[in-house]
Amino acid sequence: MDFTLTDEHRMVQYMVREFAQREVAPIIKEYDRKQDMAPFILPRMAELGILGISLPVRYGGQGMDYIALGLACEELEAVDSTLRVIMSVHFGLNSMALLQWGTEAQKEKFLAPQARGEKIACLGLTESGAGSDVAAIASTAKKDGEKYILNGEKMWISLATKGDHALIVARTNPDAPDPHDGLSAFILEMDRDGVTTGDIHGKLGVRAGSTGWIAFQDVEIPLENRLGEEGEGFKIAMSCLDNGRYTVAAGATGLIRASMEASIKYAHERQAFGREIGKFQLVQQKIAHMVQSYESARLLYLRAGWMKNEGMRNTRETSLAKWFATDASFEAASEAIQIHGAYGYSDEYEVERYLRNAKGGVIYEGTSEIHQLMQAGYALEYREDVPLRCELPAYDAESWQIEK
């Protein structure tokens, strides 16, 4: 077993870290307070190639492997969760789904501009009445000759107002005996007639990010925009989550690291009862837990990334990594505030933002409860993964890095 990162991995890590630390860290508090996304973030991530990091060069991507994607997410979220959310939705939930399920024509038309960052992408799954229970989706897509007519509303959609393309899951067959089988997935260009969007303000966290709603009224989408077969929407949505959750797991690992580093620094600086507080065993215990969480979370996501590279099914491992890392990141951020005392409770320091951001991670892409159901389901053999018609392609350096 080889735990070393390659030169390529380390250079990616360095590059993404430099970007996040040098360009975003100095301004993030300002935008978090304003509840706005800094306008330079998306174009800059596009320009640097981060938005297409782990996609074949022939589709406009950068040809890196899935481990590099994880490492990038860790670095991004070590500065702010909103940076990683971009990767989760644009890359993990949308672009990777196009790579997995898209036809060659869809990859040319939609994936390539997304990989180059010319088009921003998001996923519209959740509705006001359908969160954890995806099969409760009420949005409809009615087939009408050579097109579908889309109606309904998606809620809590990251990048809703920034996206050019959205992957939308809607009901095509209201009469399907099993409601899971009545769903289909569509690639929606957001400039189509009848699409409206808006941002949600007053969120607890990811305030420097964009979360909103997308409403469709009689929106016409051509047949060729359907991703996968009719009735495959639920399976596609779940496969999207296998990829999105991987980025969330890696990102939450970065958030643990940020909480840990801030705590270690403060524990050295702060004096109480005549010594630095790091000398107190109760403070040490908190730091020890952070170290434990960080290293465990990292191993879990790297394993999931390795499985993706190898083309192995990783639903169970990715869910475990996501559940563990997000729960641990919330705990780490909370303890980081504790170590900072009253100062941690104020936005003079970074740690209160970490806590607010960490709370999102235990809700989106499967709440912690849902992941527990999944893990128990696998352990008790109530649950089993069946092979998909289209699996996520394994990583292949040769063919991924070849220029067109």
């Binding site: 390659t6 030169d7 390529e8 250079m11 990616v12 360095y14 590059m15 430099e18 970007f19 640097l48 190639g49 990091i53 950068q62 040809g63 890196m64 890095q401």
Partner: protein, 259 residues
């Protein structure tokens, strides 16, 4: 235009460098490209973009100096060469500059060589000038801006950042240039560069291959010790009004002979 950049592998700025048993050590902290050299690489790449040609990055060091070279490749340099030889273990800047000069000669037809202003480990800051001297080329150190570079007429004009201010200097190519921060923020490695760098086979030249007879090091480090621990006392100056606080602070500063 043929451009060479010289880079060094050094301990990370965040590394804790200490003396242990008479030896400098930084534990297992990672080695990185000397931060000043990133500015040199940036300058070289900008010149290449403007005038065409190619950039070769060279380093004198052990096997691990390949990291610095790969970093420069990932930023966009076309070629990299490592000059490595067991006999260079105790090289001082004179020896290093002799080796670099010979490597530059071996590359041949080089128009301009870029250095960072100094390396953050030894902080000697004379390797650029020494290399220029060995080559017999003009030495333009501490350059903050290249105002003109004309490969056709073989001329270069620069601004130097010196203590007194800015100095405008021109010279003939080939020349050796060392740069300071003001030259412009170094770019990050690009993914395309990273792909190239991680596949690159970096050629390694020995002293014999470079064809140089190096002199004995003239600089020795007879004794190494950690700087004495500084006792820092913090005092918060306060007063009834900003005016009063400022006055008290000013008095303290004068009293302590800070100014």
């Amino acid at each position: 235009m043929k451009i060479v950049v010289c880079v060094k592998q050094v301990p990370d700025t965040a590394a804790k460098v200490v003396v242990e048993n008479g030896q400098v050590t930084w534990g297992d902290a990672p080695l990185v490209i000397n931060p000043w050299d990133e500015y040199a690489v940036e300058t070289a790449l900008l010149q290449e973009e403007e005038h065409g040609g190619e950039v070769t990055v060279i380093s004198v060091g052990g096997e691990d100096a390949k990291e610095a070279l790969k970093h420069a490749l990932a930023m966009g340099c076309g070629n990299a060469i490592l000059v490595s030889d067991p006999s260079l273990k105790n090289a001082d800047s004179l020896v290093t500059s002799q080796v670099l000069a010979a490597a530059i000669q071996k590359i041949g037809d080089v128009d301009v060589v870029f250095f960072g202003k100094q390396a953050i480990d030894g902080d000697v800051g004379v390797t650029a000038a020494q290399t220029a001297r060995v080559l017999g080329w003009p030495s333009l150190t501490l350059v903050s801006e290249i105002t003109e570079l004309d490969p056709g007429s073989k001329t270069i004009s620069v601004e130097r950042s010196v203590e007194e201010g800015r100095q405008v200097v021109s010279g003939q190519l080939p020349a050796v240039v060392s740069v300071v921060k003001d030259i412009g923020e170094p770019r990050y490695p690009s993914f395309m560069g990273i792909r190239k760098a991680s596949r690159a086979e970096i050629p390694m030249w020995s002293i014999a291959e470079v064809g140089v007879e190096v002199s004995e090091p003239v600089v020795e480090w007879p004794d190494l010790f950690n700087p004495p621990k500084q006792e820092v006392v913090t005092e918060i100056v306060s007063g009834g009004s900003p005016q009063e606080t400022a006055e008290t602070l000013a008095e303290k500063i004068i009293e302590e002979k800070v100014l």
